[in-house]
Symmetry: C2
């Protein structure tokens, strides 16, 4: 069996960032690929009555501490960005465009976007930041800026959100491993066991 892991992430989600730094090693360990799927939690939340964690009073206060602690626990740097949450529509569209036109650059782009927000305190809603990131990765910025305006890219991101909702995705990061849904960076140990010694529950009806 070599079905890839479906990994749904939102660039503006701290736990998605942490998961993005861990999932490749986990997939490699078990000989799996990864489908990297950017989604927009803002759109998902409209359908599910969800809300950003940091808007949730006491839970929000706790979360800011937990973002940093969980990143540190996983051995990765974290600095909570001044602009949060960020509008990541264009960064997400750019990901789809790269996966289509420059697939060898797509994963580097994803990691660069997460690092920009959660390590370097940059603002991905600023088009000039996207252009800088593109240049740093030898992606032609003008082509990228044009690509993210492509109607098929816009439709593609919408379709990916709709697909996520249809599959039961209500938050991020969200994973499917051979059809089994896992929500949250803190489910990676369960995924590790699931892939290593096989499913430890019967399949869902």
């Amino acid at each position: 069996m070599s079905t890839p892991i479906d990994f749904f992430f939102d660039f503006s989600s701290p736990y998605s960032y942490i998961a993005s730094t861990q999932i490749q090693a986990l997939a490699d360990k078990h000989g799996r690929g990864i489908n990297w799927n950017p989604i927009l939690l803002g759109v998902i939340f409209k359908s599910t009555n969800g809300a950003p964690l940091t808007d949730m009073g006491m839970k929000g206060e706790y979360s800011k501490r937990d973002f940093l602690r969980s990143a540190t626990f996983c051995g990765v740097p974290y600095q909570h960005p001044d602009v949060f949450p960020q509008n990541v529509v264009n960064a997400s569209r750019a990901t789809l465009w790269l996966q289509w036109k420059f697939p060898v650059k797509a994963n580097a782009w994803i990691h660069a976007c997460f690092k920009a927000i959660f390590v370097d305190n940059r603002n991905l809603s600023d088009p000039s930041v996207l252009a800088e990131l593109a240049q740093e990765l030898d992606i032609p910025p003008a082509q990228l800026a044009e690509g993210i305006q492509d109607a098929s890219i816009k439709d593609g991101l919408k379709a990916r959100n709709d697909l996520a909702l249809a599959r039961g995705v209500f938050g991020a990061p969200f994973f499917f491993v051979d059809g089994e849904p896992f929500w949250g960076n803190d489910r990676l140990p369960q995924i590790d066991r699931w892939l290593g010694s096989g499913p430890f529950l019967p399949q869902q009806p």
Copy 2:
């Protein structure tokens, strides 16, 4: 340092049940005691606008799967109860009364209540079930039934909820380790490292 771990739990919370089966071994490993604090999430949620997970649409559907999978991952049995969530006011008051009058029975009572709900599909809101559990543990059922009507016990449970809220508890299970807050059964690995090799973040301001 031998400050006990503060463990806040709701008898009707599946992840509290799972944590209740893990926390003693973790505390023992690091030479710590545990303060077992029953709270009522229903009361907490009135102050924090929270809601039971299983009421949350897609998140609720996912959660039912995750309860079972997370319990299995931790090596403990789980059967989602027919009555859920349950009214656990009396079971919680009984815990406080036992901690006061029969402290040697208190932890056995806590584990028996969790097992009744999440393994044996019993309903703790039924006074006869509480009486049966008491008998099984050689606790005089009539004394217990009288004890949970004691005004100081009722006030004690209210005070424990107020204390939890004042300390930032918005869900369960919730832990404080030397002042550091941890929410969720899935934070036990972080607690393990925190206790084992020391805090991996500077203290909160």
